[in-house]
Symmetry: C2
Subunit: 337 residues, 2 copies
């Protein structure tokens, strides 16, 4: 008889998560509560944000309770329904967890998706999901790039970063990407059309700042920040006057117990820059607009968003850690059914 | 025969400035260069920003060259003129230096001031100068407070901070000030009309954050930042959603060689806040508007801006250090003639 495998958080990670912070258990498949549904998850989104949710610190969402499965966006099929708006067999996406079956209640983020319109249902976790929408609204609304301006993107070979770079080119900007290692840098130029790529590995802040200055001699008008730490520090020494910094993620900080934050904050004042804390949830009422635009660019061949699809719920820990080792390129997804 | 005493920067301070970083010398009174003027400085503005100009680091102005007098805004009388727009005997203000006589060229910041309209010419360095204009444009334009919102001000008993609090009350906000010591806190309430005052002295970030939470239970919609460091860290744990942080100064950092910056930057992302690097120079074309409004509020008795007037160019070092010891209350000015 089928069971519900669940990937539980059983201990708050100190720094880098270790296998003992989690436990894979088997439970009964739940029945839909009154008015709710049960979703058979097929694809699970693995995101840096999940690391933050594991900490017991004030943030935009409550921490994942210990003993609960790790919160995750998933795409799956309605398995059972006690809600007239959802029919068994129908594909949906929602904020669920790393588990085979999730209970979802209406009024949450659960929504139907049209899998016939995409190459893979996982696309709703990448190009047409939070990744594409974050790049779209983060760059265009918070960053407000003007044609001819220079955009600096950190974590540029990642899912969001590579989309930001491509949107930057579409709107007529010069785009400089920062990534780790020569292979990722090559992909920035060849696969995603960046104008310049900088490898941050093995470089101190001063060296990295000098390389950015060479690639962006007039400074960056927009910084799209996915990384934080010393990479961001080097970027901030290269701000154009009145630069906009889109603070989208700080992946270099999530596993460190001592937070660096923004050490050379003074540059923000000196260049009269604006730092925008950005979270895609604030644009929920415009998701249709952003999704349509991303779909159009994909169809026109102006945009590619790669996926790094790992397999097997039993491999959840190893798959998740690919985010922090720099191993993954493109949107990291775990296929569990 | 009269001479020109000049307070020179002769060494870049390492951390807190020491007397040996400066030298008081006597030189000849300069003659006006072609098209320029010579100003007899009477009042010299002493500001935290000057500490930044002493460092050899990228900023919004070039560092003060070693061997030059310390750059300062002054109010004084035209001593000699080779420019038809300026007449000897006329009062002017401008960006000059800590010295008896400064050479000024047109096209700089030099402008005539009407001393008959004010209680003291030093007012052009405080209420009607950069202090009042910084509070006015910083709070209203960068902070965009809405009636009923909560404004959190650090360095609240300082010249800019106390003006920000009073403007906050004028526009219908709840205003919470953070200052050092019970006497300053008492003045926030009694002299400047703040709704609540918090003494940061001797408290760690956690304790300070908890006290802010008590005074601003719904969080701060606007943070007007003059201090930085651990005070700012405590504030950032109390941001309302979509808060605006006006980054006006970071006085706690200027003498420290290890910059803390914004350690809990994550809060900016989690609360989707916006950090505005603010410099009054960006509003130069609206100074008349801001100055008129400040003058009106002063005349109506809605605003008071205190001055801490120290005397004697020979006391420049001791006077300047009052900024960092917390000794001064109100705008620090050095009267040299």
């Amino acid at each position: 008889m089928a069971a519900n495998r669940r990937f539980l958080l059983v201990r708050r990670p100190q720094g880098t998560p270790v296998p003992e912070d989690f436990e894979l258990v088997s439970a009964d498949i739940p029945a839909p509560p009154s008015g709710g549904i049960v979703v058979r998850n097929h694809y699970v989104s693995l995101d840096p944000a999940q690391r933050g949710w594991m900490d017991d610190a004030p943030s935009y969402m409550p921490p994942i309770p210990l003993g609960d499965p790790v919160r995750a966006t998933t795409v799956g099929i309605v398995h059972a329904s006690d809600n007239p708006d959802f029919t068994p067999g129908q594909w949906v996406m929602g904020l669920n967890a790393i588990e085979d079956y999730s209970v979802a209640m209406p009024g949450g983020f659960t929504m139907p998706v049209d899998v016939a319109a995409v190459a893979s249902p996982s696309n709703f976790l990448s190009a047409l999901g939070a990744v594409g929408l974050t790049a779209y609204f983060g760059l265009l609304e918070a960053g407000k790039p003007q044609p001819g301006e220079t955009i600096l993107v950190s974590g540029a070979a990642g899912a969001v970063g590579s989309a930001v770079g491509q949107i930057g080119k579409i709107v007529g900007c010069r785009v400089v990407g920062i990534a780790g290692g020569p292979d990722k840098c090559r992909r920035l130029i060849e696969d995603y059309g960046f104008d310049a790529a900088i490898d941050y590995k093995g470089k101190d802040v001063e060296t990295l700042a000098a390389e950015i200055a060479k690639a962006a001699p007039d400074g960056a008008n927009v910084v799209f920040e996915n990384v934080g730490g010393m990479v961001m520090e080097a970027e901030l020494f290269n701000l154009a006057l009145h630069a906009r910094i889109v603070l989208c993620g700080l992946i270099s900080e999530y596993n460190s117990e001592e937070k660096i934050g923004m050490r050379n904050l003074w540059q923000v004042l000196a260049r009269r820059a604006v730092v925008h804390g950005f979270l895609i949830a604030d644009y929920a009422d415009r998701f249709a607009e952003g999704g349509a635009k991303m779909a159009q660019w994909l169809a026109e061949g102006k945009m590619r968003i790669d996926e790094d699809v790992q397999e097997g719920l039993e491999n959840a820990y190893d798959a998740f850690m690919r985010l922090f080792s720099g191993a993954n390129t493109g949107k990291l997804v775990l296929k569990i059914a």
